[in-house]
């Protein structure tokens, strides 16, 4: 016997992500899903973003890590509400994990929800969390071939933060080449060149976020 199924394997995740998207929209919250390799600087970017925006916007953070609460501790020091998801080995966050995490956060005064995914350029790209935008961080020492090698995430992202830009010269990163590849994969992506530790590009990035939050509020 042949049973016609025609069912999306990720249907359950996608339905839940759609519910989260609707819920966040009703609350007027702009949500980003921050994705990169381990060590690209996601948490430092997040700290610097919180420091610049926390007096202007209500921010909440969900931290995804395989284990340890180190990243959440770093964010909590900035006085921003944060909930840690320890994935216990899973290489990505899914909508169910996010739904559980959101129950631990008071979202009434939140304008911007930042979800820091598990450090990984592959798996998180497949799982919709209900965010408004995927933000990919690529740090210069990782090499200029990353957009071409991991096109899935670079295609889906709205913004690229090209981080550790202060190391451009010593790392031999060919920026023109990386951006050329990127333009073929995703011509609509917005790029900010940043150095989270030196503060380069962070004001521009934060302004982009603040503008998106304002747009979302208007809707």
């Amino acid at each position: 016997m042949e049973i016609k199924v025609k069912k999306n394997v990720l249907g359950k995740n996608d339905r839940l992500a759609a519910e989260i998207r609707k819920y966040l929209s009703e609350k007027g919250i702009f949500a980003i899903n921050l994705i990169s390799s381990p060590g690209a600087g996601k948490t430092t970017i997040l700290e610097e973003t919180c420091a610049r925006l926390k007096d202007k916007l209500g921010i909440a953070v969900v931290e995804g890590d395989i284990t340890t609460t180190r990243d959440a501790d770093r964010i909590a020091r900035h006085g921003v509400p944060v909930h840690q998801i320890e994935t216990q080995g899973a290489c990505h966050l899914d909508a169910r994990m996010l739904e559980n995490a959101l129950e631990h956060l008071d979202l009434d005064k939140v304008d911007l929800l930042i979800i820091e995914n598990v450090g990984n350029l592959v798996c998180p790209a497949t799982f919709d969390l209900g965010e408004d935008a995927k933000i990919v961080v690529l740090s210069v020492p990782e090499g200029d071939d990353k957009p071409a090698k991991y096109p899935g995430i670079f295609r889906r992202a709205k913004v690229l933060l090209l981080n550790k830009i202060d190391l451009l010269e010593i790392s031999g990163f060919d920026k023109e080449k990386a951006l050329r590849d990127l333009a073929e994969i995703n011509p609509d992506i917005t790029v900010f060149e940043t150095s989270a530790t030196k503060g380069t590009g962070m004001d521009e990035w934060c302004q982009w976020l603040a503008d998106r939050v304002a747009e979302k509020k208007k809707k």
Partner: protein
């Protein structure tokens, strides 16, 4: 290795369909995977072997049909296959292309012994 989570979702759907149709043994599962779905076919096959053990689908063949990424040029209406995620129209060179297919990830059908 998110293929393991994918294989588990796959197994959930298979078990649900088998209950509904009162099937006791699955012979084959056909899954359609787009090149942009971010799935490594061999890895999914291996994960499926692991999670299907001692279930209705124990020993079942997992057939994967890989679909290419396709796009429609918004300037000259050419429909084309996207190689290596390069969304550039081969006819007019425009980058203004809308993706049509390639992110599929669905169970097409299940073949059973019944």
């Amino acid at each position: 290795m998110h293929e393991l989570s994918i294989a588990m979702s796959l197994m959930e759907i298979i078990e649900e369909e088998c209950r509904k149709n009162q099937v006791k043994k699955v012979r084959k599962v056909k899954v359609v995977v787009g090149e942009m779905a971010g799935i490594v076919p061999d890895s999914l096959k291996f994960s499926f072997e692991v999670v299907s053990q001692d279930t209705v689908a124990d020993g079942a063949e997992l057939e994967l049909e890989v679909r290419p990424v396709t796009a429609l040029c918004q300037d000259c209406s050419e429909e084309f296959v996207v190689e290596e995620f390069r969304f550039r129209c081969p006819k007019c060179g425009s980058r203004n292309a809308k993706r049509l297919g390639g992110d599929e990830l669905y169970i097409d059908y299940i073949e059973t012994d019944d």
